[in-house]
Point group: C2
Chain length 195, copies 2
DNA sequence: CGAAAATTTGACATGACTCAACTGGAGTGG
DNA sequence: CCACTCCAGTTGAGTCATGTCAAATTTTCG
């Protein structure tokens, strides 16, 4: 079974939280689909109602939205072993509020709501893995809001550089600007020390 | 047992998601503590390391932080039947990143990490309740970030008024300003139509 | 009733944005 | 492997949304 191969990463990740024997791991595997996305391509477009949660095997994705002026605003970046999704859309099966796009050529595995519900009723011990994953993500989202609030543009930039150097290398600057909530031009001025 | 009384709300809330018989409900009840907080008093101060998750029975609370200038910034408000916590601090048992304060005289029930862990191992079916609760909160946090990004001060104000009228009535305006990310003075000008 | 807290108002200051022009490097096709 | 294009990044001038500060006014509540 080839899919076992690319499922390994997720199984390993789950096993950091709960025990899974091989037959259970096989069940988990059977519920996921493998997808590749080329750089710049979208996995989800705003307004779509087919929702999946994506687990990133390789590459880098982002979730973003457009503001009233039509500019992109990045809510979150994700890399290897991160989950990414429109959680409200997923739960309510409502149109997506966001775009999900590949920043680099990427590989993901995905699961839709029905499949996740089935999987969880077949293997209830997985609830704990997802509970902890979401709890952690929720904590991260709180910090994200805190940082958006408390730092000036320049502080945000330096803070991000210091704390997430992997992303700085992998994400183009104009895109990082849409995450830190200022314009690419302004970012350029910060970098030049002319802000 | 008196505590059964104020635990009712949470039990009812949990039963919207999963089934609980009376003996299970009693187990849940036994893990929570009842607390009251007077308006303006803090349940948690920044830097503290005793962490609990709070379920609001009555009243209104908020979680906030201070920016570099010492001004308050409100991350989230919570009312009856909402959970409120510093989730990252809770999970990691690290010093709190935030203050949790009563906006009105309030009643909450609380649980610390050890108790929650015990409760969940004794009653694993609760994992699903918390998984769904956190998943929903995570979705809400995503929307929160989207709104902070995409709206001007004036749009934020009107949007909040329209969508959360209960809060507008219960929360002082200067505090709402710290949630919507502008100054009380500017809020006043928006209201006067002079923005 | 009085004090403290919340809200309003106005004058002025400023951080970040807009727009347009320019530079340099990375792909692409011939 | 060169030439061309296109996209990312830079720079500067002018502008605007929102902040700051201080004072006046209104509301709340002990």
């Amino acid at each position: 079974m080839y899919y076992i191969c690319f499922m390994d990463r997720l199984i390993t990740h789950i096993r950091k939280t709960i025990n899974l024997d091989d037959s259970e791991a096989a069940i988990v595997s059977s519920y996921f689909e493998y997808e590749t996305v080329k750089k710049k391509k979208h996995l989800v477009e705003e307004g779509q109602t087919v929702h999946k949660q994506y687990y990133i095997l390789k590459g880098c994705l982002r979730i973003y939205t457009l503001n009233t002026k039509g500019n992109e605003q990045t809510l979150q970046f994700g890399i290897e072993n991160w989950w990414i999704a429109d959680y409200l859309g997923f739960l309510g099966q409502t149109p997506s509020n966001y775009f999900i796009q590949a920043v680099e050529n990427s590989e993901v595995i995905s699961i839709d709501k029905n499949s996740l519900d089935e999987l969880l009723s077949q293997l209830p011990k997985l609830e704990k893995y997802f509970r902890l994953t979401f709890q952690k993500s929720l904590g991260a989202a709180q910090m994200r809001i805190k940082y958006l609030f408390t730092m000036t543009a320049e502080e945000s930039y330096h803070h991000f550089n210091k704390n997430f150097p992997e992303f700085v290398q992998r994400v183009p600057q104009y895109m990082l600007a849409t995450y830190l909530d200022f314009t690419p031009e302004f970012m350029s001025k910060i970098r030049a020390g002319k802000a």
